[in-house]
């Protein structure tokens, strides 16, 4: 297959430009994270002095609190993502494959839940979970975070399942599979890109959530967004060097993890399940 070099060049141009656009704004905060405390001592701020240090990152990583915050966040985000994707996919499959009474009603009904702003229901949620003594536990955060992303996942996965022809599953039945096996071996791999997108979305939403994590938890279970506020002092002053270093340490493992997720985007229809 011939590739027109002008197209390739254009493609790289757009992608690299956007990559620079994405990363450039972080350059100043990254510099702050890499500089010793007396960074901006001049006006105008001097971004180009060369004194760099890793001591801020060391301070963050050596802080046992920080590791706990990060751990809590990973646990909450992972389980929230898992639950949202599994339960969401089940519902999505049903909407995609079957027709039943009130199906359209249920679909719109579910959609409206995505619109509810978190800040307006935080007080009754607090009361609800307080009554069950579930405040400040992993469970409350996992449940609330998974519910916050489920509607979108259901809609995305429904769209995805709809594009997978029923014939494939029926072919698997013919070959003697049970419906569960058919789902697992045929539909699931083909839906992998959709599942990957949903899982990433749910994970990131839970990872970055602030208001739910700080209101319904915040003492025993502290996610990193709440943990970042611990770096402020009595006079609103943010210790920017530490906050920046902490934020980047939080980002890095996630980025690495997502680079590996990439392969799930490639599986798709090229999996070769289509015959002829």
């Amino acid at each position: 297959m011939r590739k027109r070099w002008s197209k390739v060049f254009l493609a790289y141009l757009v992608l690299i430009s956007w990559a620079i656009f994405c990363l450039f704004p972080f350059s100043s905060t990254l510099l702050i994270a890499l500089k010793p405390k007396d960074a901006f001592m001049s006006f105008p701020p001097d971004y180009f002095s060369l004194r760099l240090t890793l001591e801020n990152f060391a301070t963050v990583l050596k802080d046992p609190n920080w590791l706990k915050y990060y751990g809590d966040t990973i646990i909450v985000a992972s389980f929230a993502s898992l639950i949202a994707v599994i339960i969401g996919s089940l519902a999505a499959y049903s909407f995609a494959r079957y027709n039943f009474k009130f199906k359209n009603f249920f679909m719109i009904f579910i959609l409206t839940f995505q619109m509810i702003p978190g800040s307006s229901i935080i007080i009754p949620l607090y009361n609800m979970f307080a009554n069950f003594n579930l405040l400040d536990t992993y469970i409350v955060l996992i449940l609330v975070d998974s519910v916050g992303t489920m509607p979108l996942i259901i809609w995305l996965m429904r769209g995805y399942f709809s594009t997978i022809p029923k014939e494939l599953e029926e072919a698997a039945f013919m070959d003697g599979c049970t419906s569960l096996k058919a789902f697992w071996k045929v539909t699931f791999p083909l839906a992998a890109p959709g599942i990957a997108a949903s899982a990433i979305y749910a994970f990131v939403r839970a990872f970055n959530d602030y208001i739910i994590a700080r209101t319904l938890a915040g003492s025993r279970i502290v996610t990193y967004t709440v943990g970042l506020t611990m770096f402020t002092n009595q006079y609103e002053g943010i210790d920017m060097t530490l906050v920046a270093a902490a934020s980047f340490t939080a980002l890095l493992p996630i980025i690495v993890m997502f680079t590996f997720f990439h392969k799930y985007f490639v599986i798709g229809m090229t999996g070769g399940a289509l015959k002829g």
Partner: protein, 430 residues
């Protein structure tokens, strides 16, 4: 013989049971809701409390939050009648929380008179006779600062600022020599961003001119009267004479960013900064206190002719006991450790800010401009403590920002009158 052994065994078992139950330490848990920076203080007070009560096994269950969240958490928890023992209430919120606070008999607090009179008055504001709402932890005050280094570059030395005219005089001198300053440096700066600091630093000038925010009985707005207009026009004078631009003062998203910009040399004279500029803010930019004193000069907030010099907003928190507390006496002892003089005089207790107890005032002697701080403390004034204050504060802040954005099109009186009208609607709607 066997019966004797049996009886002895029973006696032994009984003794063991009575022993463990009787001599076991009684377990007590105190629930504390406070701010994120209070951790060290809480841990120290906990240690003291435990030491003083060896017969008890004391656990402190503390939940720490940042500013707005503390208020929300307290409100939600108290609405559920949660048995909170100790809580930190910003002095602005005491009007809102007064019915949730267990009032303490003043006679039960040893050394109660050690607290400075104006702070005692605030602690007792909503309490019955002979009682107080809680103990004031620490406070902060504001002064006017200037960048000595930059002024030296312009050949201006021995700066003395006592009146508003002095400030204008120096501002003019700096403006004339602007070409000697780095690009973008402005002669004057003040806080007009989206934070309560915009309000509090302006109130200093409002009070200096003899005005006030609300009437004595807190039923009507008076900030739009003559002194208020004068104070806002003072800000306006610098805008109109090109000594500062609106975006310079509107942009800081919070007081700390403004303070840091000033330390970095953005403004030559800053109309108002917290005393913590030389300690906490300087530390954030890696400046030592000695460097700070060398580089920056300070004075009491100036007053116009005939006004009161040194007026300042005093901030701070009150440690209180909630009315649902199950251990009020222990809680009282706990908050006394946190707020009392001993905590100030001992190392490693995590205290910061300015003490409000006389016997601990000497502990700030080493802070930059300690003498000015102590003098300003005598002129400390408080913002209104009524529940409607957050709404009133927003209206006043909007007015200040509107004036700064449109100083050439509207008058200070117009803007303040409009704001006063809105505030009065709220106060009358109570």
């Amino acid at each position: 013989m066997r019966r004797v052994w049996f009886l002895l065994l029973v006696a032994l078992v009984l003794t063991l049971i009575i022993g463990t139950v009787g001599f076991a330490k009684q377990k007590v848990t105190l629930k504390v809701i406070s701010r994120t920076w209070a951790k060290e203080e809480i841990e120290w007070a906990w240690k003291k409390l435990q030491e003083n009560h060896p017969e008890l096994d004391i656990t402190i269950e503390y939940h720490l939050y940042e500013y707005n969240e503390t208020r929300t958490q307290l409100a939600i928890r108290l609405s559920r009648r949660e048995p909170i023992d100790v809580m930190t209430v910003d002095h602005i919120w005491i009007g809102e929380f007064k019915d949730m606070i267990m009032q303490i008999d003043k006679s039960k607090i040893k050394g109660y008179d050690d607290w400075l009179p104006s702070f005692r008055a605030l602690m007792e504001k909503y309490a019955e006779k002979g009682k107080t709402l809680g103990l004031y932890a620490s406070t902060d005050i504001r002064l006017i600062f200037w960048n000595k280094e930059l002024m030296k570059k312009l050949g201006i030395e021995n700066v003395k600022i006592e009146t508003w005219d002095d400030v204008k005089k120096y501002a003019k001198m700096i403006k004339e020599k602007k070409h000697l300053l780095p690009e973008g440096v402005k002669p004057i700066g003040f806080m007009a961003g989206n934070s309560e600091h915009t309000n509090s630093r302006w109130y200093d000038y409002l009070w200096a001119a003899g005005g006030d925010i609300l009437s004595e009985d807190e039923t009507k707005a008076v900030f739009n009267e003559e002194p208020g207009v004068e104070a806002l026009e003072f800000y306006g004078w610098f805008l109109k004479n090109g000594m500062v631009s609106p975006e310079d003062v509107l942009s800081p998203p919070n007081g700390a960013v403004y303070d840091e910009a000033f330390l970095n040399g953005k403004f030559v004279i800053s109309l108002g900064n917290g005393h913590w500029l030389g300690t906490s803010t300087a530390k954030n930019v890696g400046m030592t206190q000695e460097e700070f004193v060398k580089k920056f000069g300070a004075a009491l907030i100036p007053a116009p002719e005939g006004g009161e010099r040194g007026t300042t907003v005093a901030g701070g928190y009150i440690w209180c006991i909630s009315k649902f507390s199950k251990h009020p006496d222990l809680a009282l002892e706990f908050i006394y450790y946190i707020t009392g003089p001993e905590g100030w005089n001992v190392e490693g207790t995590g205290k910061s800010g300015i003490p409000t107890v006389k016997s601990a005032l000497h502990t700030i002697d080493n802070l930059p401009y300690a003498d000015l701080i102590k003098e300003a403390l005598k002129h400390a004034r408080f913002r209104p403590t009524i529940p409607e204050y957050p709404k009133i504060a927003e209206i006043i802040r909007d007015a200040i920002q509107e004036y700064v954005m449109n100083y050439d099109k509207v008058s200070a009186k117009e803007v303040l009158d409009k704001a006063a009208k809105k505030v009065n609607e709220i106060l009358q709607g109570k």
